[in-house]
């Protein structure tokens, strides 16, 4: 990627490491917030934390997929 100067792909892949690390750090809180019975007072933070984790997972999937497909470029 560096040789072909695809900096956007490389940068997006580097960012994946950070976003996944943040997601890992929040997993214990996610586990707690979804324990039964669900707490009504935590509904807001539960919703937004779930959205955040969904974004991290989908971003990682997309960035990893693009980086993986990059192997086909120039071959």
């Amino acid at each position: 990627m560096e040789q072909l100067r695809h900096w956007w792909t490389l940068g997006a892949f580097e960012f994946k490491e950070h976003i996944i690390a943040m997601g890992i750090g929040l997993l214990p809180a996610y586990w707690y917030l979804w324990r039964q019975p669900l707490s009504e007072e935590d509904a807001g933070v539960r919703r937004w934390l779930t959205v955040f984790l969904a974004v991290t997972v989908w971003y990682a999937f997309g960035a990893g997929h693009v980086a993986n497909d990059f192997r086909g470029i120039g071959s």
């Binding site: 900096w7 929040l26 214990p28």
Partner: protein, 202 residues
């Protein structure tokens, strides 16, 4: 008969006190778990951002001495040069912008045959043109992403969260912590994303 009734009453009192203690204890435990997981989430994401920006490793490897140190460790006298040459499988590499370590490019010929990791002071190689298959890290850190990323933040975050859970009253933590659970990771991603801007503005 009277004694039997007394015993039954005492027994039922004992049972009811247990019944009262049980939910109270469960609530207390739940509050402690809540404080811990929220504090850990905040501490982890905050520490990850700070340590990533400062580029502090979890371990430092000194290949000359063959020693592995916990945390950041500058080479002591007698431990040999502090630079590590790392073989790269490419003709000419661009300097990596990530990580913050000083990295330099040198000719492959400076490496003894067969050596994939070797030590050389960077100064001795200064002035060589950049077109090579070797680069030197600034000082001998173990150049592995799994060491300088996620795991470096986890142990201190765990210890800090455990300490705060023990000492801080759950009510205070509940009021102060909850919103920070989302603010800190997002702010951290903004800071870390900003450090990667160099990739996107070329």
């Amino acid at each position: 008969m009277t004694r039997t009734v007394d015993v039954d009453e005492r027994s039922s009192q004992f049972d009811s006190s247990h019944a009262i203690d049980g939910p109270a204890s469960a609530t207390q435990t739940r509050a402690k778990v809540r404080t811990f997981v929220f504090t850990f989430g905040i501490a982890f994401t905050l520490l990850y951002t700070v340590l990533e920006r400062l580029n502090w490793p979890l371990f430092t490897y000194q290949p000359a001495a063959g020693k592995l140190y916990f945390w950041l460790h500058r080479p002591l006298s007698g431990e040999g040069p502090a630079h590590v040459l790392v073989w790269l499988d490419r003709k000419c590499r661009h300097r990596r912008v990530r990580g913050g370590l000083d990295r330099y490019d040198y000719f492959r010929s400076v490496a003894p045959p067969g050596d994939r990791f070797l030590l050389r002071p960077g100064r001795a190689l200064a002035g060589r043109p950049c077109c090579t298959e070797i680069y030197i890290t600034g000082w001998a850190t173990f150049d592995a992403d799994f060491l300088d990323s996620v795991w470096v933040a986890a142990p201190p975050a765990f210890v800090g969260a455990a300490a705060i859970t023990y000492f801080v009253p759950p009510r205070l933590a509940e009021r102060a912590w909850t919103s920070w659970l989302l603010i800190v990771p997002i702010a951290g991603l903004v800071v870390l994303g900003n450090s990667l801007l160099i990739y996107f503005v070329r």
